[in-house]
Symmetry: C2
Subunit: 414 residues, 2 copies
């Protein structure tokens, strides 16, 4: 049971948007035991879409398309889809009623001819109800291959996947189970890690696939398997990981070897210790808070944060003295430590993290170079700070500051 | 001059990561006049990579690959690349020296055999220097098609693109110019917008392509063209947009019709008015601050923000009284307004935005339903708040809160 994903839209090919739909669809298919072997993105162009459909049908049992189903002229997927199936468009009264209801609710206006065209669907298609938009999903078959087309607007696509596509795939196909488990290590290079694990890697059963996923300062290890019995799969993959935990003791990112992202590990450890964190962010601009609050349930360990972007906010609200800033510079270990210390006080938290640095592109009024970042941590035991000199652009410097900050608090908690 | 991008890695096909490399590469190629016609993502699997290379070579002048060049066993791109060119791997002394230097600098350890293999490259390849990692870029030719392989780690790939790939493409190929311009509208559905612009759309020159890009509450319009003379292209595309500005007066997102994201419009308007913004974020958890501080130069109009996640932080730091919270609930218009009002005071800013709401998945200790969000705005003239009832998961509710918050301050500034 193999699938391919085709995402359609000039905006992807010119890099104006990142195709996030594919990752979501792939994840959801994996959960029900369907592997994705190829993802193809093509322009809004009739003949290219046709060729891509033909090629995909040779390789896959299921082909999922997104994009190009909208009401405007640059949306050509429905036409290409129809041509591929040698079908004609007919009006679907249910879709029309749905589009009319949606328009009434959202715009409080009658629908136009363009919207009415959204109710034209290939005559052989099974229509999938789009709860949030005017373009319905389409389910068609050619030979042994199923083709599913969905609009490209992410939240419409996600609702269609959840409410229509996945349930129908589950009903219609017998599928094996796919099981992935990932653990995260840090502090050791990918190659050194591979050497440490060489004997184990060579002894892995053929059916279990190992992947190394290097990131900034971390390497994740993923084991994947496919089989008829989910429980057996899980036991066998977890059993393989059990064998290496003793080898990885010094570099596992959370002491438990779970597949967590750093913020989730920090949140889990804080909650289990009944402790709390607050933040004083300067150069990271709220990104640590934003990343941390993505974790559901984080409110029980996160007190809050201050984005003290202007120096004045550091003085007035955080109470970092103008004298300290004048003598050491706003980008300094002393200021980072004072920020953390005072954040810990005003938020009444057990720990407080701080960042101060220059994300660029220009130095602004700072004495420090672009890329210089100090991260401070206040704990119940004391305060310290660490200096980093990151390279890269503004976005990269912020990204690395955020990662290092989470690593610092994680190490402290472990 | 057409290009294709191939991204390689099981992690993409199982949806563990979103392929952001393709968008970056596509953008950079577009800037130098090279269009991307297809993006293909395939697994770390020798024969599938080979087939994909063969198919791409039939369609494209330039094929760019990323991923699978690392030192571990799941990295098979170099082998497949070598097989495709019927070439053999030879040791490259310069790469070896570079890998050794990198290891000394970062790990302060001698390199291992696995790392030494990174210096093995196809004998016919031109080696592109990877400043930040051990896997070099490779540039090879077969027939008329150029193939370029780069590692998949985003910051290594980006540096290779900037320092090696783009300069070499510019030197070796004569290219036309590609010009895109995008404007953003809000408040009108895609179909209604298309009807309003119908006559104009039909009169567009064949060489200029129009795209509608619907988002949450906004529709962007993009015109794209390709030609020998960049200035002529620019004038002709901007001339086409000039014709419709009068038709869009009520729905242009920034009154100037530029291709800005909302945070950039807000920052530009604030700076031009010499005014400043601060934030008091609860349910948006720092995401507004993080989004706003992505804009270079924003420090001249952004004072800072408070992420008052715990109710206690709203009381202690923002000075929202326990009585107000008790009588109206922490998720209420009254609290949103007080948060904005007090943030404006403590940050000494001209404007202050606030959010309070329930992002879910559970209601927590709030009385309000998941999805209920109040956004407050304090201005030099007064204070108001707006209630929203968003649907979707935690991430979507935060995303919409952030968008609506930027729209509220933008409308106020216009």
């Amino acid at each position: 049971m193999t699938a391919e994903i085709i995402t359609i839209g000039d905006e992807i090919l010119i890099g104006q948007i990142v195709d996030t739909n594919s990752a979501h669809i792939a994840q959801e298919l994996n959960k029900i035991g369907i592997s994705v072997h190829q993802i193809t993105s093509v322009e809004d162009q009739h003949s290219h879409i046709l060729t891509t459909l033909e090629e995909a049908s040779k390789r896959a049992d299921i082909v999922i398309l997104t994009g190009g189903l909208g009401p405007t002229k640059d949306d050509v997927t429905k036409g290409a889809f129809c041509a591929y199936f040698e079908d004609v468009l007919v009006r679907n009264e249910e879709v029309l009623a749905q589009v009319e209801a949606l328009f009434k609710k959202i715009n409080n206006s009658p629908i136009s001819d363009l919207n009415r065209e959204q109710a034209m669907v290939p005559s052989k298609a099974i229509v999938l109800n789009n709860k949030y938009g005017t373009a319905p999903g389409l389910w068609m078959k050619k030979g042994a291959t199923v083709f599913i087309a969905m609009p490209g607007v992410p939240f419409e696509m996600k609702a269609l996947m959840e409410l229509e596509v996945i349930p129908k795939l589950v009903r219609e196909f017998k599928r094996p189970f796919i099981f992935h488990k990932t653990i995260r290590t840090f502090g050791l290079a990918e190659s050194a890690l591979a050497e440490r694990l060489e004997a184990w890697e060579n002894s892995l059963p053929k059916a279990i696939k190992l992947a190394y996923l290097p990131g900034s300062g971390t390497v994740r290890l993923r084991l994947s398997g496919k089989g008829e019995d989910r429980e057996l799969l899980r036991i066998s993959i977890e059993g393989e990981f059990e064998k290496i935990y003793p080898l990885l003791e010094d570099i596992l990112s959370n002491g438990l070897g779970e597949a967590e992202e750093l913020p989730a590990s920090v949140s889990r450890l804080l909650i289990s210790k009944k402790q709390s964190l607050s933040l004083a962010e300067s150069c990271s601009g709220g990104e640590i808070a934003a990343r941390f609050t993505k974790i559901p349930g984080v409110s029980s360990c996160f007190k809050g944060g201050l984005v003290s972007y202007a120096t004045q906010a550091k003085e007035d609200i955080l109470g970092v003295s103008a004298g300290l800033i004048a003598s050491h510079g706003v980008v300094s270990g002393q200021v980072a430590e004072k920020m953390a210390q005072n954040a810990r006080k005003i938020f009444k938290s057990d720990y407080a993290l701080s960042t101060t640095g220059v994300a660029g592109p220009s130095k602004g009024d700072s004495q420090a170079e672009v890329g210089t970042v100090f991260i401070g941590l206040a704990t119940p035991q004391g305060i310290f700070s660490k200096k980093f000199e990151f390279t890269g652009n503004r976005e990269q410097i912020v990204e690395r500051s955020v990662n290092e900050a989470f690593k610092i608090i994680l190490k402290e908690l472990l």
